[in-house]
Structure formats: structure tokens, C-alpha cells
Chain length 517, copies 2
């Protein structure tokens, strides 16, 4: 009858007064802000396990870029650490990510003669984010992205060999991994993490955060041997976090019930680019333990996905390398309809407004020059990318009005010659050439749910804030599970930087916490 | 050492298995959704008071339209009830509201020959809300608004005597109280509530929601004798809610720390139209007890407020009656710049983009015809509204280029003659006339924070949802403290309908709950 005893336990007058004394310390709270005693009403007080099945200084949930960066930094700062991962394989979305790491002032930018700065990157992020970004977080990311990239190269050993452009950025600043995939980085991170002596336990799902009476997160309840998505699988265990828990569980693009609450349009009719485990239960478990969420209704649709392949596929790599080199066409009219280098939200909204898929295309100069050979090859293999001997053949395949389309291509080419798009203000790169040389390549585009901008509120130390607007002791977070870094729109190529910058910060700071027991 | 004992209490294997059995019942949860045991980690379990200072079936927090509607319905359904209000006076923002109650198919619409329907109102709400609205909530409001208005007239005894238009609506559907203020309704609601035997306790602030071990809300901790904004004032007491707590505490337009987390642009440099007590601590206390928030980053700026008066002032009533009858002018150019009848967000964004205040103006036909006499009189008295003998004098006062301005007025007048605005597609009402007859009246406009669209997730029963995506037993909510009804943008005149419709639903459903003790 433990639970009844607990229910009868009173909040004593003495305890109330004790906590009331803390009110004056609530920094920055306006009149009418949260008052005494609130923390006592939160979190998992009273649910401590009788025994812990494992004890570490730092417990990291999630094994993508952010989680592994956090694990390495925590371990290197002298903390014992463990990484748990609910899926059967490590890497989460990071392992299927396109491998573009935006940072200003990098080696590849210098080699390409690209002028860039943290200020420019910060301004691009804020503008795309509709200024909803938490400025200090966007600033931290822009300031530390280059250092984080160099850590990935020099410490982790990942290779970055190509400079790419993403819509919404002022310059080319996406440093791409040698295999055009996040797997290059995340696999090397995993090897390094293990070499440091940190275990990465797959099939281990966090069920609940455990807090002490003051609301401090002191550990987690997990299921080991969990087989996604079988919620009846696995065995309960308790892991004690002497210093802190770090949540790096990613976003919720594949969590239809949650995303329908945040943005009711995003029913099961919209596919996602994410791995199946990109669901929000870990984020929600943190909220149930008192953590505050923010801007959860900003859910990004990728404008470069194809209805002709599953998941992320190869078309995004095809499309994003071509924007600024080839036109995007509404097949119903054979005309362009939007700025190809516009940001993700603008482009996805424009396509959804048309109500049908559009095409992105390039010629035999632009495509081999821009598109990663394997992505092109795989796209052609699956049929998601098609190859045509003439503009007429291309038009016919997509049932486009041929003459209107040919006129539009001529118009586009005149813009490319002048390096100025008078219709939609698309950025046209210095090395772009008119789209004239067959064969032509094209792919259909229709948006898929790609990234969830919102998540837990963190400060520049990656410490999570609670609904009492105070730091939530014992809980850090980094990567897509956090909110505020990107505001309304995450720009392409900024996720890797986000995860590595804040993952490292979280790991270092978690290791500095005072151990509770 | 109660707290230590509590901390040591374990979550037993038996309890874990018991709750695990409930997983299959989680309706609508995708794979990877919340699993067993989460509810045990939430809310205020373990913080029950030793004794209750008062016991009611239903405890209502907030004394605006929603709270009083809930109180009356709960009482009329046979429940005992109490209303607590943290401020010294009842009524919250409702008492300073403009008194416009949007509903389709009303008596005043019929008298004016206006064709309207719940479908039309629903579509207007969804379009303005950028389709982020929870459709079933918007539908409930549109379907029940007319009945709610008639309840206010026939049961409460409030008088509605005039039909107004608000930007973003397809037709005139705002039924205005006889004194152009929400006080007409809220004061009569208060009298009726008291006549029913329900006490309304002012200076009583909710500090914390109290939950039992299963997370059910069973009461609240309050401070009686609280003197806003002194957080050290007042005396702790506990009120037991045998059936339910209903949260109707309003929005957080005046809570700078909270609104800066949700939308970091909204620093203390932006004023608010709201009463000083419009802060978010009650909403946050609900979140700390496990309630889920949604769309909190959609914070509405009123485009019709003036920098020349404090708070809401009189200019909004001047401005909103004139749109569609007189032009809105950018004084820097002497030109119109946006659709006067556009929705609030569009107009506020357009003004912020200009970066300086604009003016709204009308002539001596439009102004006396449209503007409530007392609002005009008070505006003129304070100097926020000015009167000019000629267009030249008006232009001079705002340092406008005179000739450009006069040309623009001539252009506007040509649109009014044709009843079609070729520049910005402003709605021009059938009875509008060209702006030609002196004296002319004008006021400056600069946005202020007006309404917070986001808040607690509720269902159509006004029951609050938790972060486990399940109904949170014992907690209902209505009015501005809830989210999802309006999506991205609340249209003018829909707040009263929102509060009364969902306040009534909450009161009726709370009264039907099974008492727990």
C-alpha cells in the first residue's frame, strides 16, 4: 500500500515556507510569475525505484550526432557515461542524414573562395526562423559551428570533401561528408565513443524520467530488450544518473498523434523523411517531469522529397544540388512558380498551394557537375529521377504544355546568362550555365514531414528549463529534441551543426555537475 | 522527514505491471507513443495537503466570461462551486473587452439583412488561423456561438444592440453590447453567479494544482488575501475539488518572461492591451501538473492600438469601426500600404514592417456613423484621436507629403464609388461613401500585444489533455488559457464566443464528473 501512504503524505507548512523563501531568487520573473511551491507540484517526486540496475555519472538518451558528441565530451571530462538507444541500430536520423554540415569560415569555403562569417550565418538563421529563434542559441550555434566541424574532422576523423548550397543561406556553407551521408560522421563517432569506453546500448527505451523531491532528474526508467514498435516488449530497469541525464532523442516527424496536436494538417496522409523511431515519447516524458516545450507547432516539410520513392530517398540530394543551376517547374502550366533557392517553408508552402507535385530539372552540364554520382545513379535506378533526350520528351512525360515550357526554359536561360532572375529572384551561381544540353534530368517533388523545429527549452549551457521558467536540475538536451535554435524554419545543413555544437556543450556541462549520490 | 520517506518509496514491480496493462487502451497512439508508467512520473503525486480549507464539487480559477459561464452551468447542473480570482476585482480582461460577440445567424444580423452560417464562420476562423486550428474546436465554437449569445441575452440578461465588422470575417457578425464593453456581460454574469449562490473570491491566487497518485487533479493550493503583484502577500490555503477544477485564467499577454520564451521578439518594449494580471503562471502550474500546452508561440499583436494612449485605449474602437469606410495611410509616403480589412496578423506585420506608426482616418460622414460616440469623445479628449478641418491640415500634422496624400485619397474615393479596391482588395461596405466631408478624424496606430492564441490542449468537452496525450482527469479549461481554437490568428470578436461556449461546456461537464471524495 505504498501508493496510499504516499497520497496521504501532507505538504507541511514548514516545507511550504521553506520553498517560499526561494521566490526572491527567481531571476527575470515578472510580477505574477510562478510563486512558491510550484516545483513541489511537478515531476516524478515519490517514484524513486527501490534499487538501481546501473549507475553512471551521465546517462545519454539517443545515439545520433548529439548523443555521441555529448558522450565523448562527458567521458573526456572525466565522467562515466552510457548511451541508450531504443532502436536496434545506433544513429537515429543522423545515419540517414545527407551529410551537410553548415559552418562559416571553413577550409572548404576558403578553398572555394567563399566569404562567410558567424554573423552572416546567424542572420540567415534568424531571417529564415522568422525571428522566433532564441537569439542566444542561434548565436551560439553560428559562433561554434566551425570549431565543431573541425572537431569532427580532427578528433573524430570524419572526412568532409565538398561544399554545397542550401536554400535560405546567403552563401555556400554546407560542408559535405565524403559519402554524402551522415553515416560517415555518426559511424566514426560511434567507434570513437566505444573506444573511449562508453557503452552504447541499443534496444533500450527510456520510459520515464525519475526526479527527486526537489524535481531534480536523478535517473531514468528504461525497457531493455525493447523491440520497436512493440510497447509490450522489453524488461524494466532503472539507470541512475549521478550527475545528469542528457536527452538527445531527436524530433517527432513520425509521431502522427503528436504532430496532429501541434499542426492538425499533418495527418497520416503526409509521409516523413525520418527513420521510423522519430517519435516524441521521450520529449513528452521530459515534459511530464516538468521540462518546458516551445514552438512545437513549427513542423518542417521538406520541399525536395519525391512521391516516387519512400522516405528521404535520393531526390533531395538531386534537387538541392540543382537549385540555382536548373529551374523548378509547375507541370500543369509548364512554368516556374517560385524562387528555387527560397527557404524550405516557402517552397513547401508554394508546392502545397499548387496542390500537385512539381518538377526540378537540369541538363547534362548542371547535373553531373552538381549531383553526387551515387545519388543520381540510385535515383535513375529507382525511377524517381528520369533522363530525357529532349525538352519535348521531358514535357511529354509530365503532360506539360510543350510550347509554354520551352518558352519558360528560354526565359530561365536568359536569366542565367544575366545571372539575375527577374521573375522570382532565384540565386544563380557564378558557374551556372543555361539549361540547353541534352540529356535532361528531372524528378517530381512533393513535401514530406522532415524536421520538428520545436522541443525542449534550453539555455546556452544546453540545460533544460522547466515550466517554472527555471533550469531543471539534472537535465540537459541537444539536437532536434530541443526548440528555439531554429525558430520557425530550420535551414538545410544546420542540423548537423546544431547537434554537434549543443551535444558537446551538454556533455561538458553535465560532467561538471555535482554528483547527488 | 516526510520528504525523505517519500523519496525512498519505490515504484514497485507490481505497480509497474498494473499500469503496463493499460497501454493497450491508449487510443490513437502510434507505435513509439507513450508507454506504461508515464503517468506515474507526472503531476503532483505525493503533495496532498493534510487538511483542506474548503471543499466544493467544482473549483473555477478566473472570473471572466469563461469562468462565470462555467460557474453558472456547474451550479445549475447541481454542483457546488466557487470562483477564485487573483486580482482585487472580478472580470479579468473580459471587463475591458470591446463587447463584440461574433456569432452566425443572429437577430442583429437578420435585422441588417446579413446572410451568415456556422460554416462560413468556421471557414473564416480556419483561414485566419492558417489551418493550425484544432478543427473540432473551431467547429464547436462556430456551431454553438449563436446559442451562447442567446443564453447571454435571455438567461444572463445582457443587451446586444449593434452589429459590427472585424477584419478577416466574411460578413458583419460581431454583436456588440449596449455599452460597447464586455463589462455589460461580465457584470451581469457576476450578479447572476452570485444570485445562484456561488461565491466569487477575489485576491485569491492559485499557486499549484494538487493531484492524487494517478495524476487526477483533486484540488488547488491558493493564497488568500493576495495583493497583485506582491508574491509575498497572502496566506496559504487548500481548496478541494471533489469533481473538477476548471481553469479559465486567461492569456499571458502581460507576462514578458513567458512571451519572450515563446516569441523572443516580444520584449518589454512592446506594450500590451491587457489588464496587468494577464500573466501565465496559472497555465504553467497546470503544465507542471501534467497538462499539455500547444501553439504558445502564436501571440497576437493588435494592429489597431495607438502609441498615443495607454493599454487598449479608445483608438481600437475608432479604428475597427472605420476599416472599410476610411483609408489607412503610411504617413511617410502619404499612401495606403495594406488591405484595411485584412486580419490582425497581416495588418500588424505590415505595420511592423514599415517600422513606424500609421494612421487610420475617416470623414464626418463615416466617423459619426461608425464610431461609438463615447469612444470618439474619449479619444478626442485624450488627444489619441485628432480632428482636422481639411486634408491639408491632417497631412501637415503627420508630416505627410500633401500632394501624394491628396492623390491617394482621390484614388481611395474612386474605389469607394466603385465598391471595389483595385490596390489592396479592402472590403468596402455598401453604405460606405467617399472620404470628402470635413472635419476629418485620424489616429496613429502601432501594434500592442493583445491575445495569446496558444494554451492548454482541450477536447470538445473542454477537458484538458496531458503530455501523455490522454485526458487529464479532474481538469477542464476554457477561454484564452486554452490553445487550438483559433490556430495562428484569433479573429476579432471571437474571444467572447470562445469564452462563453467553452465555459458553459466546461461547467456542464465538470458537474457530471464522479466525485472522488
Amino acid at each position: 500500500m505504498n501508493d496510499d501512504a504516499q497520497q496521504k503524505k501532507g505538504l507541511t507548512r514548514r516545507n511550504f515556507l521553506k520553498s517560499a523563501g526561494g521566490v526572491a531568487a527567481v531571476a527575470g520573473m515578472a510580477a505574477g510569475g510562478l510563486a512558491a511551491g510550484v516545483r513541489e507540484g511537478s515531476a516524478a517526486a515519490g517514484s524513486m525505484p527501490k534499487k538501481w540496475d546501473g549507475t553512471y555519472d551521465v546517462v545519454i538518451i539517443g545515439s545520433g550526432f548529439a548523443g555521441l558528441a555529448a558522450a565523448m565530451e562527458a567521458k573526456n571530462a572525466g565522467a562515466s557515461a552510457v548511451v541508450i538507444e531504443k532502436m536496434a541500430v545506433h544513429g537515429g536520423n543522423s545515419i540517414i542524414n545527407g551529410g551537410d554540415f553548415c559552418a562559416p569560415g571553413t577550409r572548404l569555403q576558403k578553398e572555394a573562395g567563399v566569404q562567410d562569417s558567424p554573423d552572416l550565418m546567424y542572420n540567415d538563421m534568424m531571417k529564415a526562423g522568422l525571428y522566433l529563434n532564441h537569439p542566444e542559441l542561434a548565436r551560439t550555434l553560428a559562433d561554434q559551428a566551425k570549431d565543431a566541424l573541425e572537431w569532427c574532422e580532427n578528433y573524430v576523423g570524419a572526412k568532409f570533401t565538398r561544399l554545397n548550397f542550401h536554400g535560405g543561406h546567403s552563401v555556400k556553407r554546407a560542408n559535405q561528408t565524403v559519402n554524402a551521408s551522415g553515416s560517415e560522421l555518426v559511424n566514426k563517432m560511434l567507434a570513437k565513443t566505444r573506444a573511449l569506453g562508453v557503452a552504447v546500448q541499443t534496444r533500450t527505451k527510456m520510459e520515464r524520467m525519475i526526479a527527486d523531491k526537489d524535481g531534480r532528474i536523478v535517473g531514468i526508467e528504461v525497457k531493455t530488450g525493447y523491440r520497436f514498435p512493440d510497447e509490450k516488449s522489453g524488461k524494466t530497469a532503472y539507470i541512475k544518473a549521478r550527475k545528469a541525464v542528457i536527452l538527445t532523442s531527436g524530433g517527432f516527424s513520425n509521431d502522427v498523434p503528436l504532430r496532429r496536436i501541434e499542426d492538425p494538417r499533418l495527418t497520416e496522409k503526409f509521409e516523413s523523411t525520418n527513420q521510423p523511431g522519430a517519435t516524441g515519447e521521450a520529449l513528452l516524458a521530459a515534459c511530464l517531469a516538468g521540462a518546458m516545450d516551445v514552438q512545437m507547432d513549427w513542423i518542417q516539410l521538406g520541399p525536395w522529397t519525391s512521391p516516387d520513392e519512400k522516405g528521404f530517398g535520393n531526390v533531395p540530394l538531386f534537387c538541392e544540388r540543382l537549385v540555382g543551376y536548373g529551374p523548378m517547374i509547375d507541370p500543369a502550366k509548364g512554368k516556374r512558380f517560385f524562387k528555387e533557392t527560397g527557404n524550405r517553408k516557402e517552397r513547401a508552402d508554394a508546392i502545397i498551394l499548387l496542390g500537385h507535385p512539381v518538377i526540378i530539372m537540369g541538363d547534362s552540364y548542371a547535373v553531373p557537375k552538381q549531383v553526387f554520382p551515387r545519388a543520381l545513379e540510385k535515383g535513375l535506378e529507382s525511377g524517381a529521377v528520369k533522363k530525357f533526350d529532349s525538352l519535348e520528351a521531358l514535357a511529354k512525360n509530365y503532360a506539360m504544355p510543350v510550347e509554354a515550357f520551352k518558352q519558360e526554359i528560354a526565359r530561365w536561360n536568359s536569366f542565367v546568362e544575366k545571372k539575375k532572375d527577374s521573375d522570382f529572384d532565384c540565386m544563380i551561381f557564378p558557374d551556372a550555365r543555361p539549361t540547353v544540353t541534352p540529356p535532361f534530368y528531372a524528378a517530381r517533388l512533393w513535401p514530406k514531414v522532415h524536421h520538428t523545429m520545436g522541443g525542449l527549452v534550453i539555455d546556452t549551457n544546453a540545460q533544460v528549463f522547466g515550466f517554472d521558467l527555471k533550469p531543471l536540475k539534472g537535465l540537459y538536451a541537444a539536437g532536434e529534441v530541443t526548440g528555439g535554435v531554429h525558430g520557425a524554419v530550420r535551414l538545410g545543413g544546420v542540423a548537423m551543426a546544431d547537434c554537434v555544437v549543443f551535444g558537446r556543450i551538454a556533455g561538458k556541462n553535465a560532467a561538471k555537475e555535482t554528483a547527488w549520490g
